[in-house]
């Protein structure tokens, strides 16, 4: 029986890494789900970005809602060079942040690609703990064949950070 929900690839950082890329993503699924347990090797919390198909142009945008335990807010960003999928713990945090990022209908060649994400940074240092949900747009109709993950310029992916990519197939 063909599995509906399958692990495509998984990666655990053996040491601090500048980035990680899932390559040669098969086009045979309907949705992709990226699950991350990750922190930055920088001293403090940093932003994790996702880009597709090596596109580093200003072709991404986001809308998000977030809360820090005392207040809730939302924000939008346009013409970005990647999708911000989490403001996650750095070395001063007690653990790793969590990200769940679902990219629907990633392999069609008709629509721009939109993903839904949730992230939490409870393990971050005081003052930088958030829970958030958001949506990110890539303005390209190309099928997604690779996903690159990297923190902003100030930090690397810390040792033992994990990334797992799943495929979901509708019959």
């Amino acid at each position: 029986m063909t599995a509906t929900y399958e692990a495509i690839a998984t990666y655990t950082a053996p040491s601090a890494q500048a980035s990680y890329t899932f390559t040669s993503i098969p086009s045979t699924y309907t949705d992709l789900v990226l699950v991350c347990n990750v922190k930055s090797s920088a001293a403090t919390s940093r932003t994790l970005y996702a880009t597709y198909n090596s596109d580093t142009g200003s072709n991404y945008s986001m809308t998000r809602i977030f809360g820090d335990g005392s207040s809730a807010a939302s924000s939008r960003t346009t013409n970005q060079t990647g999708i911000d999928i989490g403001y996650l713990p750095g070395a001063n945090g007690t653990g790793f942040g969590t990200v769940n990022f679902s990219i629907q209908n990633y392999s069609n060649s008709t629509t721009y690609k939109t993903g839904l994400y949730r992230w939490g940074s409870e393990a971050a240092a005081s003052g930088t703990r958030y829970v958030a949900a958001g949506v990110g747009l890539w303005r390209s109709t190309s099928a997604i064949t690779s996903i690159s993950l990297a923190f902003d310029s100030a930090g690397d992916i810390a040792t033992d950070s994990t990334f797992t990519l799943y495929g979901i197939k509708a019959e």
Binding site: M1, T4, T30, R64, Q104, N108, T111, T114, V135
Partner: protein
């Protein structure tokens, strides 16, 4: 190697040594609907088997309104159009002044599934994931939750809307097993555009 149960007649896979390993499926595709050319006012999932624990609907959608950017989907169960539903949402973005807001809607005729963008932004389709929990339990009213959103990179259309993310919950005040799900665009005059895609999955 297939073996048949004497008790149930169910055909399964032998787990005897030498046979292939067997991983029971816990997340299965049930039905899929892709909107064709010309669009449609609604889609439905019928004859939903009662053999799962929960249901999940995943997909992308776009409506055909030419002015406003934002529409909504109306979800109903078992053809119930009565005032037997309630829903809440937490929303971010929405217009040119992003803000977090929460809205409660008791005693409604459907469960609203989030913000669906229109073809004002041609290539942008909203995305959604909706969970329907314990859908076969005849001792409970049925509850749902969803995460949904879209972003158009800037603003567009009447009202200058640009992006919304919504986290919502819904209630159907009925203990019946859910065997059909209908999804209709609101306002009623809109259509779901071609390439909108709805996939129903069962979780064991």
């Amino acid at each position: 190697m297939t073996v048949s149960s004497v008790a149930t007649g169910y055909d399964g896979i032998s787990l005897l040594a030498g046979n292939s390993s067997f991983t029971p499926a816990i997340f299965e595709s049930i039905q899929t609907v892709t909107v064709g050319s010309g669009g449609t006012a609604s889609i439905s999932f019928g004859s939903i088997p009662s053999t799962y624990k929960h249901l999940q609907i995943r997909g992308i959608a776009q409506t055909n309104r030419s002015s406003y950017v934002v529409d909504e989907l109306m979800v109903r169960f078992n053809s119930d159009t009565g005032s037997n539903y309630a829903y809440h949402w937490l929303r971010g973005g929405y217009d040119s002044t992003p803000a977090a807001s929460a809205t409660g809607q008791p005693t409604k005729t459907n469960i609203r599934l989030g913000a669906i963008n229109s073809s004002v932004s041609t290539n942008v389709f909203s995305v959604f994931v909706m969970d329907i929990l314990d859908y076969t339990n005849v001792n409970k009213n049925k509850t749902t939750r969803y995460l949904n959103g879209f972003d158009v990179n800037g603003t567009a259309g009447t009202g200058s809307y640009g992006g919304t993310v919504m986290l919502g919950s819904g209630l159907w005040q009925n203990t019946s097993v859910i065997n059909t799900i209908s999804i209709t665009v609101s306002p009623d005059a809109s259509l779901l555009n071609q390439y909108s895609h709805f996939a129903l999955y069962g979780v064991k």
